[in-house]
């Protein structure tokens, strides 16, 4: 566990105990509610995790790296944004991957598009988002995030 996760745990435990002290009754009801919500999501979350494993097996980071560094800038930017949308790889893999690409002289634009959609657009988490927030919300948020990611990437290409 990194420091941040540990701090998060500390905060969670303190606030939870505080809730219990403040009102047993209310806390009991809230626990019941949260448990229901979690129970609703847990099956999908586990499925999502195993789906990520599958996707990483069929589209390994090496393939993504080749995609990011290839040919036409526009094409590779859109392809990179798409790759970021379907995959979910940890930051400590994604940053060195893009870093080594940039060091080897590739344009940063596809790399940025990839980094941004990687976390903001989630095709794999889409079913869960749809279930919890509704189709309209999930579609709009993901579509706008995709456009935003490509725009951020292009602007970065101009600025840096």
């Amino acid at each position: 566990m990194d420091v941040f996760t540990i701090a998060f745990w500390g905060l969670g435990i303190i606030l939870f105990v505080w809730s219990l002290v403040k009102s047993r009754e209310k806390a009991k009801e809230a626990i019941k509610k949260s448990r229901g919500m979690m129970k609703n999501m847990i099956g999908d979350i586990i499925a999502i995790i195993f789906m990520i494993g599958l996707i990483l097996t069929f589209i390994p980071p090496q393939t993504i790296k080749e995609l990011l560094g290839s040919g036409n800038l526009w094409l590779s930017t859109v392809a990179a944004a798409l790759a970021g949308s379907v995959t979910l790889i940890p930051a400590f893999v994604a940053f060195p991957l893009v870093g080594s690409l940039v060091d080897s002289g590739a344009s940063i634009v596809p790399g940025v598009a990839f980094l941004t959609t990687l976390t903001m657009v989630g095709l794999v988490t889409f079913p869960l988002e749809k279930k919890e927030f509704g189709t309209q919300f999930a579609v709009t948020r993901n579509a706008l995030s995709f456009v935003a990611a490509v725009s951020i990437a292009l602007l970065m290409g101009v600025i840096i």
């Binding site: 941040f4 996760t5 998060f8 905060l11 969670g12 606030l15 939870f16 505080w18 809730s19 403040k22 009102s23 806390a27 009801e29 809230a30 019941k32 509610k33 949260s34 448990r35 919500m37 979690m38 609703n40 999501m41 847990i42 099956g43 999908d44 979350i45 586990i46 499925a47 999502i48 995790i49 195993f50 789906m51 990520i52 494993g53 599958l54 990483l56 097996t57 979910l88 940890p90 940053f95 060195p96 893009v98 940039v102 980094l115 941004t116 903001m120 988490t125 079913p127 869960l128 279930k131 919890e132 927030f133 509704g134 919300f137 709009t140 948020r141 706008l144 951020i152 970065m156 840096i160």
Partner: protein, 237 residues
């Protein structure tokens, strides 16, 4: 049937794995290896998310959330949502329960978008990692542009009037439709469109409800008239 519809994702993934185990067990094993990191991450984060949703529910009064993150919260609300999302830990799915709890307590859609996006993209430990591999200039520029675009997205979603409609109702809602019972006759949606919407052949309850006494009385009648008694009305808090 509803069991399958509700759990189609786990069933689908399970079937893919079964096929792989039978025909390409090497790939199934590799996929499992790749999943392990995320499984560990989930086990580390989800219990905290559970504790936090309970704490938000108990400790933060509804009025406070409405004021800070509700429909009149303005720029301060966005900045607040931005800070909240950035200081979190865990993947985006961990943000779903938190965002949902905040929404039910009165946060507006735009701020939910900001929280989800900030949670996903601009986390502090990730920024540190970014500096290490891509340099401070890269990080700062990307961070700045991302913040600008997140706020733009929130504004667009607010202006477009995008609504949050959960497919599953929690037990805390004043009104809930038991989707297993609902036959989609849409009688309730016709009588009280301000409460019920039809989606994929089932009635759903709009989430941002504030009912006056007259509406509550009418609601009780509508619930009684539901042919399958699928509408559950909860009494006053």
């Amino acid at each position: 049937m509803t069991m399958i519809k509700k759990n189609w994702l786990p069933i689908l993934v399970g079937m893919i794995y079964l096929l792989l185990i039978v025909f390409r067990s090497d790939l199934a094993l590799a996929a499992w290896e790749n999943s392990r990191y995320y499984l560990l991450e989930m086990v580390q984060i989800l219990p905290v998310i559970f504790l936090l949703t309970v704490a938000i529910d108990v400790l933060i009064p509804r009025e406070w959330i409405v004021k800070r993150l509700g429909s009149d919260s303005g720029m301060i609300g966005y900045l607040f949502a931005l800070a909240f999302g950035s200081l979190s830990a865990g993947p985006i799915y961990a943000a779903f329960p938190i965002a949902k709890t905040l929404y039910q307590k009165g946060a507006k859609v735009g701020n939910i978008v900001v929280i989800l996006s900030a949670w996903a993209v601009i986390k502090v430990p990730m920024l540190a990692n970014e500096v290490k591999f891509l340099g401070p200039e890269f990080m700062v520029v990307r961070w700045f542009l991302t913040v600008v675009f997140i706020l733009l997205m929130a504004l667009v979603i607010e202006k477009a009037g995008v609504k949050i409609v959960a497919e599953e109702e929690g037990i805390q809602a004043p009104v809930a439709v038991k989707s297993d019972y609902c036959i989609g006759c849409s009688a309730c949606a016709r009588k009280m469109p301000e409460i019920f919407v039809m989606q994929e052949g089932k009635a759903l309850v709009q989430q941002d409800l504030s009912l006056d006494q007259e509406q509550k009385n009418q609601l009780a009648l509508v619930a009684q008239k539901c042919p399958t008694q699928a509408i559950a009305v909860r009494q006053q808090e």
